[in-house]
Symmetry: C2
Subunit: 118 residues, 2 copies
DNA sequence: CTGGATCCCGTTGGATACTG
DNA sequence: CAGTATCCAACGGGATCCAG
């Protein structure tokens, strides 16, 4: 996966829409193309520590949005994948991304204007 | 406005989608039908204190999603209203509500099943 | 390699009291 | 009426170290 997929400096991070916790939406997007390993997910989500990523994955698993499959190998391998329910989230996420693409510049501009005259 | 509009016990509150801070999405929905006064907003958002509501309103104003108009009267009157930019949020919010209506029961069920076998 | 265990700190948001 | 001022508890999430 591309390492700059979720650049922390990307203005899309300013979007007021959040799915689950801080990383939930991005994790779901990462899994759109198929199952991914733990360390694969850490590539695009560069700023997340292993602990926090684990917590986010557990939360998504608890809500039935992803599955966790551990293979009894050495070295260990764990794969995460979207459930059918998780896939249904892709649609609203796409809509929210579309909104961000179309309107986020206005939010950023309003925020900058507000800085000048608070 | 109806006082039970955002019942804290309503399962829709479990939706993983959030707009801005905790109350942002609900405030925007409250303003859908036209301008509202500060104390009007406190009715459906029963659990929010004046301080927190003020903070949320300021954040939405800062991002250009709502306007704040203070009338120089006695007693004082302040009205909040959606900007055109703020109105563009109604669409993604409606989509997310639709998703919640269709799929939230599955999330709740998954969460309950997870409780049994963590 | 995939996390669990700790520790820690900034932010969020709630309670309460007060004010122009 | 529409806030502000304080205070504070809870939570999110990051750093670091450790383990199977």
């Amino acid at each position: 996966m591309r390492a700059d997929m979720f650049d922390p400096a990307c203005p899309s991070r300013l979007s007021p829409v959040r799915i689950g916790d801080k990383w939930g939406g991005m994790i779901i997007l990462c899994l759109e193309g198929g199952p991914r390993r733990f360390s694969e997910l850490r590539v695009p989500l560069r700023r997340v520590t292993a602990k926090v990523l684990t917590e986010s994955l557990r939360a998504l698993e608890r809500d039935g949005l992803i599955t966790r499959t551990a293979y009894d190998e050495n070295p260990p391998r764990v794969e995460y994948a979207l459930t059918p329910l998780g896939r249904t989230m892709l649609e609203p996420i796409a809509w929210c991304r579309e909104w961000a693409r179309d309107h986020l510049p206005q939010v950023v501009a309003a925020r900058e204007a507000y800085e000048v005259t608070p």
